[in-house]
Amino acid sequence: MRLSQAWIVASKDFATFTKKKNIIYSTFVLPFVVSIGLPGVIWYAMHKSGGSISPPELTILLPALTFFFMVIAGLIPTTIASYSMVGEKVEKSIEPLLATPTTDGEVLLGKGVAAFLPPMGAILAASGVYMFLMDVFTHGVLGTYYFPNWNDAVLLFLMVPLAVVMSVEWNVFVSSRVSDVRISQQVGMLLVLPLGGTYVAGELGIVPLGDVNTSLYIAGILAVIDLLLLYVVRVTFQRDAILTKWK
């Protein structure tokens, strides 16, 4: 496996993505809307709705809201990964690419990196904005700055990357079965359901999302799923199958 070769494939995809407005919007707009919108909701609830939120309520609410970045992690790689694979099929550019002295693994890694880095960058940047605004808005109630903390470090630097990898792998697999970018995206988004369910459970206090051990437990589950999907994708991504069986 030559990382340089994989990086060329990734940089080619980056160059292609920058020309696609829908990819740029779907990757960067949602995280930043969430990063401003969620603190805005908290601020509104605390100051404008006439009510108030107690510190214990905030300590349940904040980690649950932060978990929303996990939902985003499952969601936004869908567009980019779908385009990366199905786009190549639609433009028929996969055959000349595979005819170069590049292995299947290098092409797969390159495409994985190209689909991983933009969502990760967007989520980390947006989470920085989110944590800053949340600290500003909640400091008066909590008497301390809630962010950063260990639980969110685990979420952002362990769980989110694992969720993005899972989404990328899932979408690569889905892309091998369809020949339309939109269908690929729609099926790919099914992955968001369990993450969204966990988010809702956290909001309802059913799953203690503010607990580091819970986060590590979820991260462990994600790691196992990632490995299983990696195996499936590696078996699926064979040049023979890509050129003769992929729709």
């Binding site: 028929k92 000349p96 690419l97 170069t100 002295p101 050129l243």
Partner: protein, 290 residues
């Protein structure tokens, strides 16, 4: 595919003829190590197709022009070639030089910063050829390079292939365009899921009926026919003033035949070699097989 045994020499332009579904693209994909062969043996430049260790070396020495050009349409012509130059391991300087050379050769240098998606079909095809040539490959494999092109664009591409022929590159031309093969190729093979025939164009043309000398006299003349039979054997057929002679070397014996006609007192209105064409052979072999 079954029973395909052929050899393409270095520096040769080889035409691979066959109807749709004959297995031409499958053959190309196997030779480029894009799909696996189930049995048999194939070598490109001495490297074994299907051997994992040799696959990258084979792909390094081949330039492929696939039947679908498969360009990155949102990227510029220059960027399209630059990506492939990097994938073939070329240095920055070598890439710049090669991109300028190939785009200039194909008349696309002025359009280098224009998105490939805005190109006409002919320009896209030329860009795909430039992409295949970017790393100066020893072997160029072209799959239907003029299919779907208008006559002018097709001629441009054919002329370019003829220029490449002068550079002594080995070119494997997949096509069902018989005229293209006649104009460009040194040898050809006819495929219809199995190899039907292979050889020089002359050899292929001679496979059905062979070439004959045709002499048209000013008027029907039995004495001339008799004289020709005496000199060239019984392979003389007549149809009024038209005589057809089956001889061993049609092209070489035309002057002798004309001389014999004149000596026998006949007057020649026309003399030449006629016979089966590549098209005759192709159609006969393909129809016989289906």
């Amino acid at each position: 595919m079954d029973g395909v045994t052929l050899n393409v020499a270095e520096g040769e332009v080889f035409g691979f003829l066959g109807p749709n579904g004959a297995g031409k693209t499958t053959t190309v994909r196997m030779l480029c190590c894009l799909i696996s062969k189930t049995s048999g043996e194939a070598r490109v430049g001495g490297y074994e197709v299907g051997n994992d260790g040799d696959s990258l070396k084979i792909r390094q020495m081949i330039g492929l022009v696939p039947d679908n050009v498969g360009l990155y349409e949102s990227l510029s012509a220059y960027r399209n070639l630059d990506i492939y130059g990097r994938l073939y391991g070329m240095t920055d300087a070598a890439r710049r030089e090669s991109i300028q050379r190939t785009l200039t050769m194909l008349g696309l240098w002025e359009k280098r910063d224009v998105a490939a998606g805005t190109f006409s079909k002919g320009m896209k095809q030329k860009l795909a050829i430039a992409r295949a040539l970017i790393h100066d490959p020893q072997v160029l494999i072209m799959d239907e390079p003029t299919a779907n092109l208008d006559p002018e664009s097709a001629k441009t591409v054919r002329d370019f292939i003829l220029d490449l022929k002068k550079e002594k590159r080995t070119i494997f031309l997949n096509t069902h365009n018989l005229d293209e093969v006649t104009r460009i190729c040194d040898r050809a093979a006819i495929l219809n899921t199995r190899l039907m025939a292979t050889g020089t164009l002359g050899e292929l043309e001679g496979l059905v009926g062979g070439r004959k000398v045709v002499v048209v006299l000013a008027r029907e003349d039995a004495a001339v026919r008799s004289a020709l039979e005496k000199k060239f054997g019984q392979g003389v057929a007549s149809d009024g003033p038209k005589l057809t002679l089956a001889v061993s070397d049609p092209d070489g014996q035309v002057p002798d035949i004309v001389d014999a006609v004149v000596r026998a007192g006949g007057r020649v209105r026309y003399a030449g070699v006629e016979g089966s064409t590549l098209e005759d052979t192709y159609l006969k072999l393909v129809r016989r097989d289906t």
